[in-house]
C-alpha cells in the first residue's frame, strides 16, 4: 500500500515535471516547424548562416528579454526596458561623440546608470508599495523624456572602437557571428546558472510563486525584489550598448515598443506572466521565434511588415490559452491525487491580478 502510494507520487511528480516543460517544448516544436516551413518554401533558407543571422539581428532583444524574464518570474513587470535601451544608446553616443570620452568608460557609465535606474524603480516598488506597472511606466516616460533632453536628433557614431565592434565577425566553420551574439550568449549562460543554481534565482521563483509564503519562509523578499529590477535595468542598458553596436547611432526613437517584444518573447518562451514558472532557455526560443517570423516575412517579399505584429499576437494568444489549459489540468490533477505530494505550485487563483 505504502509502496503503491509512493509509486503514485512519483508518477504524479514525474508527470507534473514533464508537464512543466510542455510550453517550452511547444515553443521548440513551433520554432523547428517554422524553420522547416521556411526551408521548404524558400531557397537558401536552410542554411546555418540564416539561423545565426537570427541571433545577430536579435542579440539585443535577447539580452533585454533575459532581464524581463527575471522580472516576470518574480511576478512583476517592467515596461521601462525599451526606453532604457533608447536612453543607453543616447547616453553612450553623446558621451563618446560629443564629450569625447573613452568608449570603454562610456559603456561602463551606461551600464551603471541602467542598473541604478532599475534599482531606483525596485526600491519605489518595494518600499512604497506602488504597483510595478505604474512605477515602470513612469520610468519609461522618464527615460524616453531624458533622451530628448540630450538631443532631439539622432547622434551617429564614428568612434573606431564602436565601428570595429559593429563590423567585426567571429568566423568558424565557414559561418560567422558578431561579437554582440557572443556577449548575449554569455549573458544567457550567466542568467541560466543564476536562475537555476543560485540562492537568488530560487528566491526569484519562490517570490513569483507566492510572495507571502516566501516571506514566511524567511527568504530575503525585499532584497530579491529590488535586485530583480536592477538586473532588468542592467540588461536593458547592455541591450542598449549592443543596439548601439548594431545601429551605430543613439536616438530617442530607438527600440520603440521593445518592451512588448520582450514580454512577448518571454511569454512565447513558456513563462507565466503571473510569475513563478518559466525558463530562461524558453526566452531564447521565444526570441528565435520572433526572429524567424521576421525572416520568413522578409524572404516572402510580398507580405507587408505589419503581418509580423498580427502573427505575434496570434502566437501570444495560442500560448496563453495553452498555458491556461495546462494550468487547469495541473490543478485538477493535483486535487484529484494526493495533496501530500504536492511539489508543484498550483495555478494561482483567478481573481489575483498583478499589474
Amino acid at each position: 500500500m505504502t509502496a503503491l502510494t509512493t509509486l503514485g507520487d512519483q508518477v504524479t511528480r514525474g508527470a507534473g515535471r514533464l508537464r512543466r516543460y510542455v510550453p517550452v517544448l511547444a515553443t521548440l516544436a513551433l520554432f523547428l516547424l517554422m524553420f522547416g516551413i521556411g526551408s521548404y518554401r524558400y531557397e537558401g533558407f536552410l542554411h546555418g548562416q540564416v539561423f545565426l543571422n537570427l541571433l545577430i539581428d536579435n542579440g539585443f532583444l535577447l539580452v533585454v528579454a533575459i532581464g524581463m524574464t527575471f522580472v516576470l518570474l518574480s511576478g512583476g513587470i517592467d515596461l521601462s526596458v525599451g526606453a532604457v535601451v533608447a536612453l543607453s544608446t543616447m547616453i553612450g553616443a553623446s558621451l563618446v561623440e560629443q564629450q569625447n570620452w573613452p568608449p570603454l568608460l562610456a559603456i561602463l557609465v551606461v551600464l551603471t546608470l541602467g542598473t541604478v535606474f532599475g534599482l531606483g524603480m525596485g526600491c519605489i516598488i518595494h518600499y512604497f508599495e506602488i504597483q510595478p506597472f505604474i512605477v515602470t511606466l513612469a520610468g519609461m516616460f522618464l527615460a524616453r523624456g531624458l533622451c530628448y533632453t540630450i538631443s532631439i536628433d539622432s547622434i551617429s557614431i564614428t568612434d573606431p572602437v564602436f565601428t570595429r565592434m559593429a563590423q567585426a565577425r567571429v568566423r568558424f566553420a565557414g559561418l560567422f557571428v558578431s561579437p554582440s551574439v557572443l556577449i548575449a550568449l554569455v549573458v544567457l549562460a550567466v542568467a541560466f546558472v543564476v536562475l537555476h543554481y543560485s540562492r537568488l534565482g530560487r528566491t526569484v521563483y519562490a517570490i513569483g510563486g507566492n510572495e507571502q509564503s516566501a516571506l514566511l519562509m524567511g527568504l530575503p523578499v525585499a532584497k530579491t525584489k529590488i535586485t530583480v529590477y536592477a538586473i532588468s535595468g542592467f540588461c536593458s542598458a547592455l541591450g542598449g550598448v549592443l543596439l548601439t553596436f548594431y545601429m551605430l547611432s543613439g536616438y530617442g526613437q530607438h527600440a520603440l515598443g521593445m518592451e512588448l517584444d520582450a514580454i512577448a518573447a518571454v511569454v512565447i518562451g513558456g513563462a507565466l506572466l503571473t510569475g513563478g514558472s518559466g525558463y530562461v532557455l524558453g526566452t531564447l526560443l521565444g526570441v528565435l521565434v520572433l526572429g524567424v517570423i521576421q525572416t520568413i516575412i522578409s524572404f516572402e517579399g510580398t507580405l507587408s511588415s505589419w503581418w509580423t505584429r498580427i502573427v505575434i499576437g496570434i502566437l501570444l494568444f495560442v500560448f496563453i490559452v495553452l498555458q491556461r489549459v495546462i494550468g487547469v489540468r495541473e490543478r485538477s490533477a493535483l486535487s484529484r491525487l494526493s495533496t501530500r505530494s504536492v511539489t508543484e505550485k498550483p495555478a494561482p487563483p483567478r481573481q489575483e491580478v498583478r499589474t
Binding site: 513587470i77 519605489i124 518600499y127 512604497f128 508599495e129 506602488i130 504597483q131 506597472f133 505604474i134 512605477v135 511606466l137 513612469a138 520610468g139 519609461m140 516616460f141 522618464l142 524616453r144 523624456g145 531624458l146 533622451c147 530628448y148 533632453t149 532631439i152 507571502q212 516571506l215 524567511g218 530575503p220 523578499v221 525585499a222 532584497k223 530617442g252 512588448l260 514580454i263 512577448a264 511569454v267 506572466l273 503571473t274 507587408s304 511588415s305 505589419w306 503581418w307 509580423t308 505584429r309 498580427i310 505575434i312 499576437g313 496570434i314 501570444l316 494568444f317 496563453i320 490559452v321 491556461r324 487563483p349 483567478r350 481573481q351 491580478v353 498583478r354 499589474t355
Partner: protein
C-alpha cells in the same frame, strides 16, 4: 471654532478629489506666469475660443478612453488594447468614407461611424471573452490585442495614411455645436451617461463588488462574469469613439501612430484620479480630472516653450509624485510622527514587517 475649522479643512483635505484638483489648479495657475491671458475665453464667429477650451477639446479623446478604463480597472482588470482600438476604429471609418463616391454624404458617414463602433464592440467582446470566460489575466488577455491590433489597423489602411475630405465626419472631432466644440459635448455626454448608469443604478456597486472580490461577489449571487464582459465592451466602445474623434480631427487615419501610448495615458489618468489599480472603488470624476491634468500638462509645456518631447519627463514626475502621495506606505512613513493614531490597513501590516529583516 478653530476645531470646527480644522475638521472642515480635514474633510476637504481627505476628500479623494482634493489632490488631483489641487494639482490641476496649480498647473493651470502656473500658466498665468507665462501667458497672462491664459484664462480668457472669447466668442469668435459664434464659437468659443481659449486655452481652457483647447485643453478640454484636445483632452476629450483621453477623457473618453479613461472613462472606459476606469470601469475596467474597477473590476480589478486593465485594458492595454485601447490604443489599438482607437487606431482600428479610425482606420475603418476613414476607409469606408474614402470609398464613397460623395464623401460629404451624411448617410455614408453614419454608416462608417456605425461600422467602426460595431467593430470596436466586437473587439471589446473579444477582450471580455478572454478575461471573463477563458479566465486569462486581464493584462495578458488585452496584451494580445495590443500587439496584434496595430497590425490590424495597418492591414485596414494597407499601410498608408488614408486622407479624407468629409465635412460631416469632421464635425466629430473638429466641429462646433451650440458654440462649443462637438468633441467636448460628446465626452460630456458619455461621462454623464457613465455616471448615471453607475451611480443612479446598482451597476456601479456591482462593478465595485466584482473588483473587490470576484469570487465573493459570485457566491453572493452577482453574475460577476457578465459585468466583467460588460466593462470591457464599454471600454472598447469609448476607445472606438475616441478613435473617430482623433481621426476626424486630422481628417486622416494612421494605423501606426493614431492613439499611440493613449492606453498608458488613460491608465495614468485613472490612477491620478484616485482609483486603485487593484480594483474596487472607483471615481469617474477623479478620472476626468486626471485626464485633464495630463492634457493641461502637455499644453503647459507647449506654452512655456520647452521642446514638446520632454513632456514625458514632466509626466513621469507628476505620476511619481501623485502615486507617492496616494501610497499608504509612503504616507505612513512620513506622517507617523504627526499622527500616531493612523493605523495601516491590515493587508499592509504584513508588508511592513518585510522591511525589518531586509
Amino acid at each position: 471654532m478653530s476645531g470646527r475649522m480644522g475638521a472642515a479643512v480635514g474633510t476637504v483635505w481627505r476628500h479623494r478629489l482634493f489632490w488631483p484638483v489641487l494639482i490641476l489648479v496649480v498647473l493651470l495657475l502656473s500658466n498665468l506666469i507665462f501667458t497672462p491671458s491664459f484664462f480668457s475665453v472669447e466668442m469668435r464667429n459664434g464659437h468659443l475660443y481659449g486655452s481652457l477650451i483647447d485643453i478640454a477639446r484636445f483632452g476629450a479623446p483621453l477623457v473618453l478612453v479613461a472613462l472606459g478604463m476606469t470601469l475596467v480597472i474597477a473590476t480589478g482588470g486593465i485594458d492595454l488594447s485601447v490604443g489599438a482600438v482607437v487606431a482600428i476604429s479610425g482606420a475603418l471609418a476613414c476607409l469606408w468614407i474614402s470609398k464613397q463616391p460623395d464623401q460629404n454624404a451624411v448617410v455614408g458617414v453614419l454608416v462608417a461611424v456605425g461600422l467602426a463602433l460595431l467593430l470596436s464592440l466586437v473587439l471589446g467582446v473579444w477582450n471580455g471573452f478572454l478575461v471573463a470566460a477563458v479566465g486569462i489575466q486581464p493584462i495578458i488577455a488585452t496584451l494580445i490585442l495590443m500587439v496584434a491590433g496595430r497590425g490590424l489597423a495597418q492591414l485596414i489602411t494597407d499601410g498608408q495614411i488614408i486622407t479624407i475630405n468629409s465635412s460631416p465626419y469632421k464635425l466629430i472631432g473638429g466641429g462646433y455645436l451650440f458654440g462649443l466644440p462637438f468633441s467636448i459635448l460628446l465626452a460630456l455626454v458619455m461621462t454623464l451617461l457613465a455616471v448615471l448608469f453607475t451611480r443612479r443604478t446598482a451597476l456601479g456597486m456591482l462593478i465595485e463588488a466584482v473588483g473587490s472580490n470576484a469570487e465573493a461577489s459570485r457566491l453572493s449571487g452577482i453574475r460577476s462574469r457578465r459585468y466583467t464582459l460588460l466593462v470591457y465592451v464599454f471600454c472598447a466602445l469609448c476607445a472606438g469613439i475616441a478613435g473617430l474623434m482623433v481621426s476626424s480631427n486630422v481628417s486622416s487615419a494612421d494605423g501606426n501612430k493614431a492613439g499611440l501610448l493613449i492606453e498608458l495615458d488613460a491608465i495614468l489618468a485613472v490612477v491620478i484620479g484616485g482609483t486603485l489599480l487593484t480594483g474596487g472603488r472607483f471615481s469617474l470624476g477623479g478620472t476626468v480630472v486626471g485626464a485633464l491634468i495630463i492634457q493641461a500638462l502637455s499644453t503647459t509645456i507647449y506654452t512655456i516653450g520647452v521642446p514638446p518631447q520632454t513632456t514625458l519627463v514632466f509626466k513621469a514626475i507628476v505620476v511619481t509624485v501623485v502615486c507617492l502621495i496616494q501610497s499608504p506606505a509612503f504616507r505612513a512613513k512620513f506622517s507617523r510622527r504627526g499622527r500616531p493614531g493612523r493605523a495601516d490597513p491590515p493587508a499592509r501590516s504584513v508588508q511592513q514587517k518585510v522591511e525589518v529583516p531586509a
